[in-house]
Amino acid sequence: MDKNKRLIIKLIALFLCTSVIYFLIYNNASSYDDSIVKIIDIDGSRITGELLNGDNEGETIELTHEYESSLVYDEKYHEGNFLFVSYSEVKEAWSIIGMKRDYIIVLVLLILFNLLLIVGQKQGFYTVLGLCVNVLIFIFSMSLFDKGSNILLLSIFMTIFFACLILLLINGRNRNTLLSIFSTLSSVLIIGIISTLVIYYGPEVSYDFMEFMPQPHSTGEANLVLISEILIGGLGVIMDISVTITTTATELIDKNPNISKRALVDSCKKVSNDISGTMINVVLLTNIASFLPVFVLAINNDFRISTIVKNNMFFEIVRFLTGSIGIILTIPLAIFIVTKFTRGLKRA
């Protein structure tokens, strides 16, 4: 009963915190320098909205907005949306600059964090904590990149830091963690080396279709970005497999200290083969999904399918393949590391 009461109090506190944060972000118009309007009425292409900040706060203004119904580049606004607007002295009219979306990001993230805390409790809290620290480190690295640091060096640093932090948070400070970190990093290193060799000694990679590559860039710079993507992209799944194998092996050795090396290797293989399939699937679907809108837009403009796949899907497939290579490679590697560093195993 007492436990239930504490749970309810925790839930109420969580709900209150969430609501307060969302309320603050939802109403943060006054902290922006740009003028913001809230849409109160839409009639065809005429939008009526109320200014929320600046000198004319509270004033009602009229805007015109037209859009293509397929919404490829255009946006369709609804009542209740917030828009950034600016006033042109020449035209003596307000025009739309863009949409305010910060509160929607916060809403979705808050829901995710709440679910993690409610379902995962202590582990959920560590996951949220890990995510927040990782995001901060990522932002910090990005700002260093902006100041001119080498992206590959930053990514290597991030990979090592992310792996150590997350594995420490999951397992705590013990031998298991050390072994997982060791096998994770060696596996990431190997896929890094493989892809570096392929990039530099294989056929030259064309970066014309890499989304958002800052222009202008040299092939050398783009190569570094691609290697960085491969390292970070593989990290998650590799870590997952490493942890599974080290924990399974430790469990088995604990339960039966006389276990033979052969039996240990077999059991670890069985467990990891069970999970590797669905994991390769996750890597595939997560990577290729964003290709959908590109494909539809391109094919409606009479591009040939082979051209679209070759150009626009190239990097998705590369990341899928390196991630999957990482999964397959980590299984024997982690097993090797565990058996190597566990003394007293009988050979059989």
Partner: protein, 246 residues
């Protein structure tokens, strides 16, 4: 480059893989095919949401029943995936409707009006964005659900006298153990996929513009909804298993 990497991949599978790994490669290829069928169904005028839902159900069927086998563990996982698919779809629709994250920011692609191409296509990009989110989340939802249902099966097998509530609680604690790695896997794939986007954003945008921009919001919302789905599926799978395992 793709050819060389594929060869390395196949070589490694022959070296270290088992029958099960070979089977999962076939599954992956089929799923790849299903993905392309979704693309073509949309191209030939099928409603994009409908095409995606059918595609997602086929992907779940193949991943669960072909890669593994038809048994009480996989059927429970399948029902859970369906429930989560329905819940996330309504949630995703609501978010996409209000956030305008569909389509492309001006200038992302070579294909744009100023280059003589048309943006007047028959397909509504908002529905397409919902489709993208559903495809991203289906993979991790299947993964989580199957882990919980098979672990729970072992638990029930070893302790047949557990009550429904005890089975449910045990499912939640199994879920707790795997949730962190699922979220992290999604997070790292997401950072890697959009590394060039982030490099672009820090170079040309300031913080305020980044967090309100279409491109950033699109990615964060997509990956967060995938995360939400993979957390949500834990209690749902635990509940369904607690009813079905006897």
């Amino acid at each position: 480059m793709i050819l060389i990497l594929s060869l390395v991949f196949i070589l490694l599978i022959f070296l270290f893989g088992s029958n099960k790994t070979a089977q999962s490669i076939v599954t992956t290829l089929i799923n790849f095919g299903v993905f392309f069928s979704i693309l073509f169904a949309i191209y030939f005028g099928m409603n994009s949401i409908l095409a995606t839902i059918i595609g997602c159900v086929i992907i779940s069927l193949i991943t669960l029943f072909y890669q593994n086998e038809i048994n009480i563990k996989t059927t429970s996982a399948f029902y859970s995936v369906l429930v989560v698919l329905v819940i996330s779809m309504s949630f995703t629709f609501f978010i996409c409707y209000y956030s305008n994250i569909q389509g492309f920011p001006i200038g992302q692609y070579e294909i744009r009006v100023s280059n003589g191409y048309s943006d007047e296509i028959e397909v509504n990009m908002m529905f397409l964005q919902i489709a993208v989110i559903l495809i991203v989340l289906i993979g991790s939802a299947i993964d989580t659900s199957l882990s919980v249902s098979s672990a729970l099966y072992e638990v029930k097998e070893h302790n047949p006298n557990l009550t429904k509530i005890e089975v449910f609680n045990s499912g939640i604690s199994i879920g707790k153990g795997i949730i962190g790695s699922t979220i992290n896997t999604l997070f790292f794939i997401f950072i890697a996929e959009y590394l060039s986007l982030f490099l672009y954003l820090v170079k040309y945008y300031d913080f305020v513009r980044i967090i309100n921009s279409k491109e950033f919001t699109q990615e964060v919302i997509t990956i967060s909804i995938a995360g939400i789905a993979s957390v949500l599926i834990i209690p749902i799978t635990a509940f369904i298993c607690s009813r079905k395992y006897k």
